[in-house]
């Protein structure tokens, strides 16, 4: 008798079930727990109050990222607000008291938690990875089951190394064929959300597949999975392949020697079996994807850069009101060409697009050019990304163009540190959320790829990057 064909998600799930109750609720084992300063203090406090400990400190990794300043003078504690300082100090203390792996602000390896995990080899194929942060789906790029959890669950994982879960449904998102020049992973992931809506993935775990996904680098795959949550999905996954193994090999916490061989043999079994069942399937042709931008205050408000601002009446149901509200907030009128939207500020960074490849893509457009916006900043995703970009000469390109060259952190992705938009300030951002107030109260966010952000920086308005690409066809 042969076993029923299983999806990648099914396989990882099955290998992590500790206990299954009659009603189907499972206790799922967690291989890696990533922790940052904003969603963890109450969880550690809970442990102290109940006299509990961290069950597996060696599988727990902490790094401050959300509200650390990214200015060069941040070593000076005075640059942090009192409240931020308290949170970061609480993490310092909790990491020390409970003996967990820690990358403090002073460590060159510090950075955004979802960039540090893969970079240090903590994230490996087939693992379960959780973090008190919704963009944990990023780690799905390695074929790891990774999702965000709340603070109570952070406490639960700290204390038990497990999570109470019900299995989600399987959804397949296939991107066939190849991408056209100027189109990137960010355009894929935004286009998928545009097609399925921000609740299209609710209750599902998405497996991204197809030629265009296979052709992406690991950095690109992380960008795609990062935004699974913006489509409502619990997690996004990509089956590991040779690119994955090559990325992981030699990382500080990747297995070595005989363990590496054993791991590799296991990782090669991590794919969806022929004939496995998906509850929902979405197929998009890679050639049909254009460079996109968002016009509204929900990541589903996405259109090709060649489009115009839509009229609320073009929608139906509750979305009509929501679109009206969005346009009002964004200060846009229906029918306006997206390329006529003037930009004040450009932000390149975040766990969506703060990796080396993202900086390379932006620098390729910026080389020898000057910015035409009021303010532009690059915030590398980690200290190591920053160092590499300096070595490759990218930092100088940014600086020469007029960009601020910052230290690693979340920065203007959520504006918990001093990097914030002013009311009415319009920003082209490579981050993942364009919610009202996300980048600062009254701030207006347009999401796009690093190359598109660079293009907007040069021209001062939203721009089709393909027009600036010398080698474009």
């Amino acid at each position: 008798m042969t076993a029923a064909p299983r999806t990648l998600y099914d396989k990882i799930w099955d290998d992590h079930v500790v206990h299954q109750a009659e009603d189907g609720t499972c206790l799922l084992y967690i291989d890696r727990h990533l922790v940052h300063e904003v969603t963890s203090p109450q969880a550690f406090e809970g442990l102290r109050m109940t006299g509990r400990t961290v069950r597996a400190p060696e599988k727990t990794i902490a790094v401050p990222d959300h509200n650390v300043p990214t200015t060069l003078d941040r070593a000076n504690a005075a640059t942090m607000t009192e409240e931020s300082r308290i949170q970061v100090e609480a993490l310092d203390k909790n990491a020390k008291d409970f003996g967990i792996n820690y990358y403090p602000v002073s460590d060159v390896r510090q950075g955004i938690v979802h960039i540090v995990g893969p970079e240090q080899g903590w994230t490996l194929p087939g693992m379960t990875v959780v973090c008190g942060d919704s963009h944990t789906a990023t780690h799905g790029a390695f074929g790891a089951l990774a999702h965000g959890i709340g603070t109570s669950e952070v406490e639960h994982v700290l204390a038990t190394q497990t999570l109470i879960q019900r299995k989600g449904k399987n959804m397949k998102v296939e991107i066939t064929g190849s991408l056209r020049p100027g189109v990137t992973a960010k355009d894929i992931t935004l286009s998928v959300i545009g097609a399925t809506g921000t609740a299209g993935g609710t209750g599902y775990v998405i497996e991204y597949c197809g030629q265009a996904i296979r052709e992406l680098s690991m950095e690109g795959r992380m960008t795609v999975c990062n935004m699974a949550i913006e489509g409502g999905a619990r997690a996004g996954l990509i089956a590991p392949d040779e690119k994955t193994f090559a990325y992981v090999m030699g990382r500080p916490h990747a297995p070595k020697g005989a363990k590496w061989e054993a791991a590799l043999a296991y990782w090669k079994t991590l794919f969806t079996d022929e004939g496995a069942h998906f509850d929902k399937v979405v197929t998009i042709k890679g050639e049909d994807i254009a460079p996109v931008v968002t016009w509204g205050t929900s990541p589903e408000d996405v259109l090709p850069i060649t489009g115009v601002v839509p009229a609320p009446e073009a929608f139906s149901g509750g979305k009509v009101e929501a679109a009206k509200r969005s346009l009002d907030y964004m200060g846009l009128t229906p029918g306006m060409k997206l390329t006529d939207i003037k930009i004040d500020t450009v932000f390149i960074g975040s766990c969506t697009n703060g990796r080396i490849e993202d900086l390379r893509a932006a620098a390729a457009i910026l080389k020898g050019k000057k910015i035409a916006v009021k303010r532009a900043m690059v915030v590398p995703g980690s200290g190591l990304v920053r160092a590499q970009a300096e070595e490759e000469g990218l930092a100088q390109i940014f600086i020469d163009a007029g960009f601020e060259w910052r230290l690693a952190g979340c920065s203007m992705c959520l504006a918990m540190n001093p990097d914030q938009l002013q009311p009415g300030e319009r920003c082209a951002a490579t981050s993942n959320r364009n919610f009202e107030g996300r980048q600062g109260r009254g701030g207006r966010t347009h999401l796009l790829s690093p190359a598109m952000a660079a293009a907007a920086a040069i021209t001062g308005h939203l721009t089709d990057v393909r027009e600036l690409m010398s080698e474009s066809v």
Binding site: A21, G150, H156, I164, G437, R441
Partner: protein, 201 residues
């Protein structure tokens, strides 16, 4: 965690779709290391002007809804971040139940961990409840978790589904961690096996 059994109270209507966690509690309030005290900043940017004055139009600022304990909301409530500050802020304000056609996953989970009951009902039912909520303070809705029903102020009853484990925890105010630690031997056994099957993990 406080128990949740039945609740009769004022329901505030918030028909907007995709109410995200940044709207529920903007990030400048995430800098706390406590769970309490967030109620005054619930829906902060919708509720107050830049200089902190109340916006009279906002539903929770209206006299009828200042003591609301139930929210009836548009589709996809709680989308966005994993911040548990969202349910903490709702709870601190006094909201114990949110009713919508759909919720974002993480938010939905987080509610149960904090004694808040999120209820999913079909559009037709939510429409009726929304209309009932709009009647103001005299129209009190009743949520009965053991019976799994919501009753409007004029007696219309809607049944709802809830996961049995979560229902049990809410009704008894049980702490998940305590329950899981009772299964410590299963976790030990799993770890012992994984040490041989996935020694690199």
């Amino acid at each position: 965690m406080d128990k949740f059994t039945t609740l009769t109270g004022i329901a505030a209507p918030m028909p907007l779709v995709n109410i995200d966690t940044d709207m529920i509690i903007p990030k400048q309030f995430l800098k706390t290391i406590a769970r309490s005290g967030l109620g005054k900043n619930l829906f902060d940017e919708m509720r107050y002007t830049q200089d902190g004055a109340e916006i009279p139009d906002f539903v929770l600022n209206q006299p009828a809804y200042r003591k609301a304990e139930i929210l009836v909301a548009g589709d996809n409530f709680g989308c966005g971040s994993s911040r548990e500050h969202a349910p903490w802020a709702l709870l601190d304000f006094g909201i114990r139940c949110v009713i919508s056609t759909s919720f974002a996953d993480i938010f939905f989970n987080n509610c149960f961990k904090n004694g808040i009951l999120p209820i999913v009902l079909p559009q037709e039912a939510v429409d009726v409840l929304m209309a009932d909520a709009k009647k103001g303070a005299n129209a009190r809705m009743t949520v009965d978790l053991p019976a799994q029903t919501v009753t409007t102020s004029d007696g219309q009853v809607f049944g709802f589904e809830v996961d049995s484990h979560r229902k049990h925890c809410l009704i008894n105010g049980l702490d998940d961690i305590g329950l899981t630690l009772e299964k410590a031997s299963s976790i030990d056994a799993y770890e012992a096996k994984a040490a041989t099957t996935r020694p690199w993990a």
